[in-house]
């Protein structure tokens, strides 16, 4: 059931918060052994939180999603609940504090179901770099759920959670949402506090909701966003409002289609479904215009220089001294080098190596500096494209869900799949993925991007577009 509907039933006392939490915990114990979405659960804590939420409902102090349980990506710090980033280097780490978004969820009365699987330190596109387990796509269990927020996406698609949180550095909310047939929203950079989100690439990371539909995503975003003095990059603006969510119209809407996101890299199956969606929207009165944003062609390179560069610095803190397992080694440096070698998986090491190289003496100008200039060019080009349109539309992923193991041998091919989602992170603007159809039983996501700070407008447009698409659906779990 969708979160807004669940909240309505809780508010009208058709069902209690504890009953709702229990039913999701039961679904998790029944189906998660097959899907592999969760890394940590604490059912007692979930039920205590559900009881507290019921008190809010009974007192009349409940917010719009009180009592609706939520699953959290395992890079969000949760006080008292193990948080590993799906890495061995944080095995056993129990944060002494909550991330700011987690505090907001607690205050709003959303019981926490558990922590979801992800690519190690969010570095990946299939959740296969997790040091702990595979997550399976609920639409086809031989396929990947996407990544890096694959556990969060599969949990919502598999009806193990009505809502979840992910983080998006280069598409890690939107791409798994697309591959799992649900909605994933990355707000404007700075609207969600990153305090307590274990950093991957600080200038790109943004937390956001995964949900069954746009309304649920918008309601959750209204709880997550708002200024936080604990994150100096948090924007001092009010939380996202859902007031005008349903008052948009498709007629007269101007949407740009960047030709670089419809090039030959797009699989014919995805192209067909997206083009049908565009045609359906055209009939509803949407005006489409083809535009060119040339820097998209070098987006993957720009991203795979900047993100690893920032990661190589952020991940320097994992040294086996203050948290995580410590390995034996010679002297201080030996211990640190061995702890990191044994704690990090291959993909994380690879990105640390790449980032260290790109920042090292002699290569900084050719790589990091140049990538930062291209980032400026791309931001300007998108700004120009947004000037005479309401939103930019593209596929979210050039391919539907791929088979588990299919792309693990070719890390570069996997990275090249990110080209549709990367621009919104480099430019900091909001983007959302919603389902627009299926090919061979696999969901296809449509991405919408809007200018920075136009989150409300983007959600309003996405809501209208969702109404013109086939109604959202979830797979049945046998």
């Amino acid at each position: 059931m969708a979160a807004a509907e669940l909240a309505r039933r809780i508010a009208s006392r058709e069902v209690s918060c504890v009953e709702v939490a229990k039913s999701y915990l039961a679904a998790i114990s029944q189906h998660d052994p097959q899907l592999g979405c969760f890394l940590a659960l604490d059912p007692e804590a979930t039920l205590r939180q559900a009881e507290a939420a019921q008190l809010m409902v009974d007192n009349g102090t409940a917010g719009p999603l009180a009592g609706v349980p939520i699953a959290l990506k395992d890079n969000l710090s949760t006080e008292g609940l193990e948080t590993t980033c799906a890495s061995k280097i944080l095995k056993g780490y129990v944060p002494p504090f909550d991330a700011s978004v987690v505090t907001k969820l607690r205050l709003a009365g959303l019981p926490i179901l558990g922590k979801t699987n992800m690519d190690e330190f969010a570095m990946g596109t299939s959740t296969e770099t997790s040091a702990y387990q595979l997550t399976r796509n609920p639409w086809d269990r031989n396929r990947a759920p996407g990544g890096s927020s694959g556990g969060s996406a599969a949990a919502v698609a598999g009806s193990l959670a009505p809502l979840s949180l992910g983080s998006d550095t280069g598409g890690s909310i939107r791409q798994p949402a697309s591959l799992c047939g649900i909605v994933g929203f990355k707000p404007t950079y700075g609207r969600c506090s990153r305090y307590g989100l274990i950093a991957f690439a600080s200038s790109l990371d943004q937390i956001g909701p995964l949900a069954q539909n746009v309304e649920d995503a918008a309601l959750l975003a209204s709880i997550l966003t708002g200024h936080d003095p604990l994150d100096s990059t948090s924007l001092n603006v009010p939380p996202i409002s859902t007031k005008d969510l349903k008052s948009g119209s498709l007629r007269g809407l101007k949407i740009a289609l960047p030709k670089e996101l419809f090039d030959d890299s797009l699989s014919p199956d995805v192209r067909k479904v997206i083009e049908e969606a565009i045609e359906a929207l055209r009939k509803e009165g949407v005006q489409f215009k083809e535009v060119s944003i040339p820097s998209i062609a070098v987006g993957v390179t720009t991203y795979y220089i900047i993100a690893p560069a920032e990661a190589s610095s952020n991940l320097a803190r994992f040294d086996g001294i203050r948290f995580g397992p410590r390995s034996e080694g010679k002297g201080h440096i030996g211990v640190v080098e061995r702890s990191r070698a044994e704690g990090f998986g291959h993909e994380v090491k690879s990105r640390i190596m790449m980032g260290t190289y790109a920042l090292s003496a002699g290569y900084y100008d050719a790589y990091y500096l140049r990538a930062s200039q291209v980032r400026a060019v791309m931001t300007q080009e998108f700004k120009a494209a947004f000037e005479d349109c309401d939103a930019v539309l593209s596929p979210t992923s050039p391919v539907p869900a791929f088979k588990l193991g299919e792309l693990t041998a070719d890390p570069l091919a996997l990275k090249l799949l990110d080209y549709c989602t990367i621009p919104a992170n480099l430019g900091g603007f909001p983007a959302i993925s919603l389902n627009c159809g299926f090919t061979n039983g696999l969901p296809i996501g449509l991405q919408l991007m809007a200018p920075a700070m136009q989150d409300e407008r983007l959600l309003q447009i996405a809501y209208s577009i969702e109404k013109a698409m086939p109604p959202p659906k979830l797979p049945s779990l046998a």
Partner: protein
Amino acid sequence: MSISIDEVRHVAKLARLELEESEILSFQTELNALLGHFGDIQSVDVSGIEPISHAVSLQNVWADDQIWESVPREQALRNSPLSRAALFVVPQIIED
């Protein structure tokens, strides 16, 4: 641009990663595949473009100098693999 075995070793040293010989070879292959692809960025005209390190141009975010409760010491130490008497125990840093 391609990266030599010695450069891979040097970068691993900078990154504080103790790598096996087989890993060094595999990272050389992987990094060279990436660097091969990265050549495309050289074709973009960036003359006169100021680099940006951030999408949002926030500057000088000030906070009041307030005292607030911090994480208690026992809690801060609880995740450490080795601590004693309210201190993190670290490996020897200066040799005898």
